[in-house]
Amino acid sequence: MIKTFETPPPFASQWFDPLPPPALSSGTSCRLHGRFHELAPHLVPMDYTNEPDIRLPLTLIVTMPELKENPFRNRIVEVFSEDGQGNLSFNDFVDMFSALCETAPRELKAIYAFKIYDFNGDNFLCKEDLEKTLNRLTKGELTPEEVRLVCSKAIEEADLDGDSKLSFSDFENMISKAPDFLSTFHIRI
C-alpha cells in the first residue's frame, strides 16, 4: 500500500513517497484482523472483501494491552489516523503495527517517531514538544528548572541549523546514531 500525505512540507522530499510499510504475511494480516475485530465485535465485520469503511475511535484503540501502558499511546494512534483525531480504519491499524514491528526499516521508524513526538504538528520539535515528551516520560517528577535544562541541552545537542528547534533532518541525524532506537521503538503483536 502506498500512502500519500495531503500536505507534505515543501522541502522534505521523502514525505511525498515514504517507503511503504513492510509487506505482512497472510498469517499476520489474519491475526491483526482478529485483534481489530475483538476491539469492537459489533462494529467490525469478519468479511473485509467489500472493504467497508469502519473506523474505530481512539479511546477504543488505546485499551489494547500493547498500547495501554505507553505514555505516547494517544499520539501514536493520532499519527496513524487519516483524520488526525485518532480514528483508525483497518488499513491504518495495519500500517501502525507494521511501522512499529521488528522488521520495519530504520528510516520509516524515524519518520513516524518524529511525527509522534511532534505534539503541535508543526513539523518541528520545539521546546514545548520536548517539555511535553519529558513530562510524560518522568510523570512530572522533575522540577521545572530541571525540565528546562534537559530540553535546552537536548536541543543544543541535536540542532544543526541553529533555529532552536529540531527539524526532521536534525532528528534523523541524531536518531540514526542511537544504539537503542530500533530495539525500544518496537511493538510486538
Partner: protein, 668 residues
C-alpha cells in the same frame, strides 16, 4: 497567456498524475495476485531432472521409503534436541530461588547470586577432578592409615589427636588424612591398574589452573558479545535519553512504573553530571585534599601490611608453645578477616575529602579495596615463605637425625638378638622421626584462613543484617525516633563487597588447593551453604535499593578481576613447584630433587624413546619464549575485548549516588 495555462496545466496534471498512478498501481496489484494463483510452466527436460532428484520427497519411486524414514529420523532428532535443551534448563539449580530474589530486588542483586552459582559450578568441576583423580585412588588403591610413617599420627601427639580443639586446628587426625599433601605416598604406581599417583597429583594441580583459566576467559568472551555499552560518553546524551529510553514493548503496569522511576533517575544523574561540569572549583585546595587523602590511604595500607607481617611472626613463635588461648591460636586469621571488614568503610570516610563524582569515587574505592586484599594476601604469603624456608633448614638436620636413628635401631637389634640371621622388624610408624613437612603446614594455613573467612562472613550477615533487622523491627515500638525510616533502618545488600569477597576467596582456594586437596571440597560446601544462607538473609532482612534497575553490563569487570586473581594465585604455586625442594618424607614427591621431576621420570620410563627426544627439543628456550609471548598476547586481547577500563554496575553506581545526593525519602 501560455504561461498561466502551463501553470494551471501543471497543477491539474499533478492531481491527474496522482489518479493515474493510483490506477496503474491497482492494476499491477491485480496482475500480481492472479499470477500468484497460476501454475508455473517448466520445460519437459527440466521437469524430468527435477522429479528424479526429488523422487522421494515427491512421494514416488524407489527413494520414497528411505526419504520418508530420513525425514522421520530428522524430526525425531530435532524433537529430542529440543527436549534435551528443556531438560537442561530445568536442571539448572536454584533457578526459581534466583528469580524470586530478582523479582524483589532487581537484577543487579540477582546477578551476585548468578555469579555465586557460576562459581559453584566451576568449583564442582575442580572438586570432581581432584577427588576423582587424586583422593579416591589414594584411598582405594594406596596404603591404609597407619601403615607408613607419613600416614600415622606420631607417638608424641597420639594422646591429644582426637581432641576437638586439636581437630579444629586441623592437627591431630585431620593433619594425617587425605585432606593434606603430606598423606600421599610417593610410590610411582599403585594398585592393579598401575595408577601413577604422583604424576596425577601434579597434573591435577596444573590442570586446576588451566581449566579455571579456560572457563573464565570463555565466560568473558561470551559477556563481551552480549554486553557492551560504556557509560554516557555520547554526544547526544539528553536527546537519546528523551527519545529512545521508553521501551515500547512494556505492557505491564508494574514494569511501566519501574521504567518511569528508572528514567527519572537516569535524567537526574545526567543533570547532576551537567551541573558538576558547570560548577566552579578551587583547584588547588581540591588537589591538596586529594593528595592528602591518598597519603592517608597509603599509610593505612602499609599499616595493615605490617600488622599482618607482625602477627605471622607471632604465630610462628606460638607454634613452639603449647598453652595457647583460642585467640592466640586463631589470631592471624582473625586479624586478616577483621582488616577486610574494617578498612573499606575507613577508606570510604577518607575518600569524602576528595569530593569526587560518586561514580569516580566508587572506582577509587573498589581499587583501594582490591589493593588492600592483595597486599594482605601477599604479605601473608611472604611471611609463609619465611616459615617454609625455616622448615627446610630444620628438615636437613632432622633428615640426618632420622637416618642416624634408623642405623642405631638396627645396631641395637643385632646387639640384643644373638640370632645373626634374623632381620629386624620395621620400626613402628608412629615412632619414626618425622620431618617438618612444610607443604602440609602451608596447606593447614590456607585451610584455617578459609574457615575463618567463612566464619567471619556468616557472623557478619547474622549480626550486621539479621540482628539489626530484628532490633529495628521490635525496638521500634518503644524508641524515641523512627528506627525504620532513619538510622539504622534495614540493611541493603552490598553487591560489590560480596562479589569481591567471593573473588578473593576463590584466589585463596586456587593457591591452597595444591597443598590441601581437601580444600576444594570445603569450598564447594561453603558455596552451597552460602547460596541458601544468603538467599534467606537477603529475602528476610534486606530491603531493595531505592531504585530498581535493569541488569548491569558490568559482569566483565568482576570476571576481569577473577582473571587477575587467577594469575596472581598461579605465581606462588608455580614458583614452589619449580624451585623449592619437596619434603623428604611426606607427600607424593618425597625423595625427588624437584617436584616436576615426576614428569621427567614418566617421560623416561613410560613413554617411547622418540617422544623423549621430542620433548627435549620442545623444551628449548628458543621455542618456549615465543609460545609464552603468543599466549600472553592472546590474553591481552581478551582482556581488552572484555574489560572496559572501569565499567561496572550503572545501577550499583546510581544506588550509591542516590544515597549521597538525593534528599532522604522514607523507605516504603
Amino acid at each position: 497567456d501560455t504561461d498561466s495555462n502551463a501553470d494551471s496545466e501543471e497543477e491539474s496534471m499533478s492531481e491527474g498524475e496522482m489518479e493515474r498512478l493510483k490506477e496503474e498501481v491497482e492494476e499491477k496489484k491485480k496482475i500480481i495476485a492472479t499470477m500468484r494463483n497460476k501454475p508455473w510452466r517448466m520445460k519437459r527436460r527440466e521437469c524430468q531432472a527435477f522429479v528424479d532428484k526429488f523422487e522421494g520427497a515427491l512421494g514416488k519411486g524407489k527413494g520414497k521409503k528411505f526419504y520418508a524414514y530420513k525425514v522421520m529420523m530428522t524430526k525425531k532428532w530435532i524433537k529430542f534436541q529440543r527436549d534435551f535443551e528443556n531438560f537442561k534448563t530445568t536442571c539448572i539449580p536454584w533457578e526459581r530461588k534466583i528469580k524470586e530474589v530478582e523479582s524483589h530486588f532487581g537484577s543487579s542483586v540477582a546477578s551476585y547470586f548468578i555469579f555465586l552459582r557460576w562459581m559453584y559450578g566451576m568449583n564442582m568441576v575442580l572438586f570432581g577432578l581432584t577427588f576423582g583423580l587424586v583422593v579416591i585412588p589414594e584411598v582405594l588403591m594406596g596404603l591404609p592409615y597407619g601403615s607408613i610413617p607419613r600416614k600415622t599420627v606420631p607417638r608424641a601427639e597420639q594422646a591429644t589427636a582426637q581432641d576437638y580443639s586439636v581437630l579444629m586446628d586441623f592437627n591431630g587426625y585431620c593433619k594425617y588424612s587425605v585432606l593434606f599433601y603430606g598423606y600421599y605416598n610417593n610410590q610411582r604406581t599403585i594398585g592393579l591398574l598401575k595408577f601413577r599417583l604422583p604424576l596425577s597429583y601434579l597434573m591435577v594441580g596444573v590442570g586446576t589452573f588451566g581449566y579455571s583459566l579456560m572457563v573464565v576467559i570463555r565466560t568473558m568472551a561470551k559477556n563481551a558479545d552480549v554486553g557492551g555499552g560504556d557509560g554516557d560518553e555520547g554526544e547526544f546524551t539528553f536527546s537519546w535519553k528523551m527519545f529512545t529510553s521508553w521501551d515500547y514493548l512494556i505492557g505491564n503496569a508494574e514494569t511501566a512504573d519501574n521504567k518511569y522511576a528508572s528514567i527519572t533517575t537516569s535524567f537526574k544523574e545526567s543533570i547532576v553530571d551537567e551541573q558538576e561540569n558547570q560548577k566552579d572549583e578551587n583547584i588547588h585546595l581540591r588537589r591538596f585534599l586529594r593528595v592528602l587523602a591518598n597519603l592517608m590511604i597509603i599509610c593505612c595500607l602499609g599499616g595493615s601490611g605490617y600488622l599482618i607481617f607482625f602477627v605471622v611472626k607471632r604465630s610462628q613463635e606460638f607454634a613452639n608453645r603449647d598453652d595457647l588461648s583460642w585467640y592466640e591460636k586463631n589470631e592471624l586469621e582473625l586479624i586478616m578477616s577483621l582488616l577486610g571488614l574494617v578498612c573499606p568503610p575507613l577508606f570510604e570516610t577518607i575518600a569524602e575529602l576528595e569530593e569526587y563524582h560518586p561514580r569516580i569515587a566508587l572506582k577509587w574505592q573498589l581499587g583501594r579495596i582490591f589493593a588492600l586484599f592483595l597486599g594482605n594476601l601477599y604479605t601473608f604469603l611472604f611471611a609463609l615463605f619465611d616459615e617454609v624456608n625455616n622448615k627446610l633448614e630444620e628438615e636437613k638436620s632432622i633428615r640426618n637425625a632420622s637416618i642416624w636413628a634408623l642405623k642405631e635401631y638396627y645396631a641395637n637389634f643385632t646387639l640384643h638378638n644373638n640370632d645373626s640371621e634374623a632381620t629386624a622388624p620395621p620400626i613402628d610408624p608412629a615412632d619414626v622421626i618425622r620431618g617438618p613437612c612444610w607443604e602440609t603446614a602451608v596447606g593447614i594455613e590456607f585451610v584455617k584462613l578459609t574457615v575463618s573467612d567463612i566464619q567471619v562472613t556468616y557472623l557478619t550477615i547474622l549480626i550486621g543484617d539479621f540482628a539489626r533487622a530484628v532490633i529495628v523491627r521490635f525496638l521500634n515500638y518503644c524508641w524515641c525516633w523512627d528506627l525504620e525510616a532513619t538510622y539504622p533502618s534495614y540493611g541493603e545488600f552490598d553487591i560489590s563487597g560480596n562479589v569481591l569477597g567471593l573473588v578473593f576467596n576463590q584466589g585463596m582456594i586456587w593457591m591452597g588447593a595444591f597443598y590441601a586437596p581437601g580444600l576444594v571440597g570445603i569450598n564447594v560446601l561453603r558455596l552451597l551453604s552460602s547460596m541458601y544462607y544468603q538467599c534467606w538473609a537477603v529475602m528476610a532482612t534486606n530491603v531493595p535499593h531505592e531504585r530498581v534497575f535493569k541488569a548491569s553490563k558490568s559482569n566483565n569487570f568482576y570476571m576481569g578481576l577473577l582473571l587477575l586473581i587467577l594469575f596472581l594465585s598461579l605465581l606462588p604455586v608455580v614458583y614452589t613447584i619449580m624451585t623449592l625442594p619437596p619434603s623428604f618424607d611426606c607427600g607424593p614427591f618425597s625423595g625427588k630433587a624437584k617436584m616436576f621431576d615426576v614428569i621427567m621420570e614418566t617421560i623416561d620410563l613410560d613413554l617411547p624413546a622418540f617422544l623423549g627426544t621430542l620433548f627435549s627439543y620442545a623444551a628449548n628456550p628458543g621455542l618456549i619464549i615465543p609460545a609464552v609471548l603468543l599466549m600472553v598476547g592472546d590474553n591481552e586481547q581478551y582482556q581488552h575485548m572484555s574489560a572496559v577500563p572501569v565499567c561496572f554496575c550503572v545501577d550499583e553506581v546510581s544506588a550509591k549516588w542516590h544515597h549521597a545526593y538525593s534528599p532522604v525519602t522514607p523507605v516504603t
